[in-house]
């Protein structure tokens, strides 16, 4: 399978703090690649660096064979990357419909088909179509954020901890949605919930202290008690 996204030797500073100190990983087309690591390991910062929100000072990021390391955020996004941030980034005083509309590059048939698809996936959004985004429940906000990133014609979705703060039953729903979306896009997923990560991830990359320490197939990690205990505190 083709490599969709490649992150090589990336270093990132925020202010004077050296946050990322050598991150490497790859996302292959049609797969779900999971970023793992304890709190503060640099998972969110890695996603932000890919998007140019906290630009890399060293290293190279390529997407579909094109280097995007130093490009401005909107150019990176328009080349086909969608983002679901940790806090979901819902526009509170915009309705669900308007939230979706902001993300649409145009309103052609392809986009509308994508919209129909996500609305089937998350029927809740259809119910609250005219409701302000700020009034949605946590789970609904998560769904809206994912739907919104998806209709932006993105070939790659970066999803940051979708299970955070959600009830198990909602997590189940979100997880199924991701498995379904995987048929249409490539996904990079940050996930602390190992049960979820292990069920939907194809490959994993393990970050610690802003550095890639391990990567490989998810199946192998499931077997590897030692790594799991050392870096994730489980197993």
């Amino acid at each position: 399978m083709n490599t969709m996204l490649k992150v090589e030797g990336v270093h990132t500073y925020i202010g004077q703090y050296h946050i990322l100190q050598g991150v490497n990983f790859e996302a292959k087309e049609g797969e779900v690649s999971v970023l793992l690591g304890r709190n503060g390991a640099g998972k969110t910062t890695t996603l932000k660096t890919i998007l140019g929100l906290t630009p890399a000072t060293k290293g190279c990021i390529t997407f579909k064979g094109q280097e995007i390391t130093k490009k401005p955020t909107h150019v990176i996004a328009n080349s086909g990357i969608g983002y679901v941030p940790e806090d979901q980034g819902i526009f509170a005083t915009l309705t669900v419909e308007e939230n979706m509309k902001v993300a649409m590059r145009n309103e052609d048939e392809v986009t509308m088909r994508k919209q129909d698809y996500v609305l089937d996936l998350f029927p809740d959004l259809k119910t609250f179509w005219k409701k302000d985004g700020g009034l949605l429940s946590g789970g609904q906000k998560q769904m809206l954020a994912m739907a919104r990133a998806f209709v932006g014609n993105s070939q790659l979705l970066l999803i940051d901890e979708p299970s955070k703060g959600l009830a198990p039953i909602v997590i189940e729903k979100v997880m199924e949605a991701i498995i379904d979306m995987k048929k249409q896009t490539t996904i990079v997923l940050v996930e602390q919930n190992f049960m979820m990560a292990s069920r939907i991830g194809d490959t994993y990359t393990l970050l610690d202290d802003g550095e890639t320490v391990h990567s490989g197939m998810m199946q192998d990690l499931i077997q590897d008690e030692q790594i799991k205990r050392k870096y994730l505190g489980i197993g």
């Binding site: 980034g89 915009l94 902001v102 919104r148």
Partner: protein, 286 residues
Amino acid sequence: MELLLNLTINGLATGMLIFLLAAGLTLIFGLMDVLNFAHGGLFAWGAYSSVWFYSLTESFVIAILGAILTGIILGFITEKLIIKPVYGNHVQQILITLGFMLVLTEMLKVVFGPNQIAAKTPPYFVGSWEFGDVIIIKYRVFIIIVGFLVFGIFQYILKKTKIGLIVRAGVMNKEMVKTLGININNVFLYVFIAGAVLASLGGALMAPYSGVIYAEMGMEFAILGFIVVVIGGMGSFPGSLLAAVLVGLTGSYMAYYVPSLSLAVNMMIMAIVLIFRPQGLFRVKG
């Protein structure tokens, strides 16, 4: 009764002029996090350029269009040269926009001379309507109508168009807007120019209303604009209309009953709002 009505119309008209200035201020602040201390300069330039165009052509329409053109040009220059280089640094922004205010004001004196200039009301707005005892001055009504019209148009743009949607989204969360593939720098520029146009339109309408224009009018009105923006809530467009009307009316009533306190009362309102409800009456940001 007539007195009260007249004071009210007067206050509403003043309120609309302040609104035109404050609307840009509040949008620019909400979206770009920039408090533009030079905004009053754009207002004064609008006033001067409209008087200049009017003296040249005797056409009020051309005078207004001339002021709008001035607003576009100055807005463009200000955003590119003054705001952009210090984007994200609040202290520098405050310092530089105030410096630019100084330059704009002094430039007016260089170009148009340091003295007050008389501004004429176009013939068709001179005079008043009389209903029994009630005398309503035509030009004030015109200002009020324009004010509401501008509010309506902008409200429509903000609510119903894609660019308006993006602006409202940007006020809440700029980073997210960028990650949705939108070049927010362009949006900043458009919003800044729109704000400048509103301010210069306000200045142009102000000129015949007060009868004279002078360079310092920019700062005087800007202070009222700041008061309005604070009371209405930074970034809230409807909030600024409401607060502007409030400030205009307060000013008008106080100017009649206790003239020495009219500005003081408005500042008092602002101080109270800032101290007890710093987000303003209308809260915009999450």
